[in-house]
Point group: C2
Chain length 338, copies 2
């Protein structure tokens, strides 16, 4: 899922997203709640009509941004008491409000409010935090009022496999349309992340989508699928794109590099996107070096196409029973290029 | 002509430019000479192929940017001795080099090197400067080697009508494919600008294009046509667009204004562009206030469409003999809204 923080995937339009076959995008509740705010989104009958996007939208609960962007004043049983990073205004996000906001946004999939367990955390801290997240998950489920919208629970439990599995079971007892794995990619080792994904997917039901939040590199995606994950979101393709760091079938390309200065070839000869079909590396490099806005969109289009095509390839490989070959190829490509 | 300073109209692609019916764009020789430089553009066989644009390109001579951006060390009979604003390197632009660079760029229309007479200037200063520009124009004509490319002379002469007419006649004696009016919109009164355009077009041949350089507002365009001008370029539609200042059939719109916060209507109900056909003022305002890149392109598309549609309307009105009605309407619209 491309990340469209405040109601736009940075530099792109809905038309661009349809062209690159994005089937769903992510919005950030924290950002949308602060700006444009619920009065505006409500007046338009939800985010889809406000932003002109008729395909699915998933929203997070806002909790993660309270921890990372806002000033958290108090984390209590009722909810998170924080100050807006925009104007310092004091706000409280409860599980019930998180659901209400997301139902006003009208996201096809909304997430329960959870506490993002810090890393590192002792077992006791991780368990206590996870238990609160599970109580909040139950309150979110009880607050859900729009039947037609999906709600996903979020597995927490730090880097403790048994806590992860206890969390997954607690969520399954409540019952959700899908299940996410949260609190990863926050500083833990890659092997710990892999372990936590495996512990979670071992328990989660196979007939419901599993969503690994905030992850990751192309290799993370295919490794995640290998462990049973279905959905991902990450700012990496869009943010890296704007920084001139591009994912290609030949590995990572830093477009600023002097060696592209006269290169008439495409950024990625295997890529079907507008950027690769239309422009030379030399021109793309020139635009980036000259600080031209045009290339931010071109690089975003390319990197998102790379991710979306990778996921399409993964689905095809699963259907054709060639997933393990694709996994080996991708491991070789990215382990050598990183 | 939309301005594509360093080989891109800021935030747009060639596809965008075709969609909004741009039939010609302008490139800045000074910028292109410094970056990406002639080695790169030459390797691609010219700017068209480098940037992926198959319609006409006009380039200025570079002189104007030497005065406004570079550090001019010495203005002598041979040419302009200056330092790059990018790295301070010392360079000399002669009339011959200006032609050679533009022929390497391969612009369909290139401009002679001229001295931009400062404002204010005494009659003596303006005459002396204009005479040098005329000597440079003759050298540019002599240096022209690519038969298939057009070269335009540039009328100078400050705010002195007789100098303007002497300049126009001097250029006609040399003979060019078209004639530009330069050195305006540099601080003189609007009435002085109008007077200089009128003085110039009175003398310039009717069967050659007349190009008013670096002008201007929508009203300037139609007033210019009223005085016999055929072509314009200006950064106003693109730059103002990026600042949220939008030209519409209802006058100027500052999209940041609070009154658009909940407005579900289009930016301009009379505009056929993607921005106006797709989004509400409320969403466009939100994107701008949130600092989202997406709106820079949307506003650029809109403002350029406004300018291009205005010129199309002017051509139709001339054909239908209704130009004076259109002129009155436009004067009423813009005099009241400015």
């Amino acid at each position: 899922m491309p990340v469209g923080t405040v109601g736009a995937v940075k530099s792109l339009t809905p038309e661009d997203l349809r062209t690159i076959n994005a089937s769903i995008i992510l919005g950030n509740t924290y950002h949308l709640y602060l700006r444009p705010g619920m009065e505006v989104i409500g007046a338009f009958g939800g985010l889809h009509r406000f932003i002109g996007w008729d395909r699915p939208i998933l929203t997070d609960s806002g909790g993660f941004q309270i921890f990372s962007l806002g000033k958290l004043n108090k984390l209590a049983e009722d909810g998170a008491h924080f100050q807006s990073h925009l104007d310092g205004s004091k706000l409280t996000l409860t599980p019930e409000l998180a659901v209400q906001i997301q139902e006003t946004i009208g996201s096809d999939i909304h997430m329960v409010l959870d506490e993002c367990t810090p890393y590192p955390a002792t077992r006791e801290q991780a368990e206590s935090s996870m238990r609160r997240s599970m109580r909040w998950a139950a309150r979110c489920r009880a607050a859900k009022s729009r039947e037609e919208l999906c709600q996903f629970g979020i597995v927490q439990g730090g880097v403790y496999p048994d806590l992860r599995q206890a969390s997954a079971r607690a969520l399954m007892d409540i019952g959700f349309e899908g299940y996410a794995i949260g609190g990863l990619s926050v500083g833990e080792k890659k092997s710990e992340m892999i372990g936590m994904i495996a512990a979670s997917t071992e328990v989660l039901p196979v007939d419901r989508p599993r969503y690994l939040m905030g992850v990751g590199t192309p290799l993370d995606l295919i490794e995640g699928v290998n462990l049973g994950v279905d959905m991902f979101d990450c700012v990496m393709p869009t943010r890296n794109g704007r920084n001139g760091s591009l994912f290609t079938s030949l590995g990572r390309v830093n477009i600023k590099n002097q060696k592209h200065r006269l290169d008439p070839g495409p950024l990625d000869p295997a890529c079907p996107c507008y950027t690769c079909k239309t422009f030379s590396r030399a021109y793309l490099r020139h635009l980036f070096v000259a600080g031209e806005l045009t290339c931010l969109r071109l690089f975003t289009i390319h990197n998102l196409t790379y991710y979306i095509e990778l996921m399409a390839k993964i689905r095809t490989a699963i259907e054709n029973d060639t997933f393990s070959t694709l996994l080996s190829e991708q491991r070789a490509l990215w382990q050598e290029s990183n």
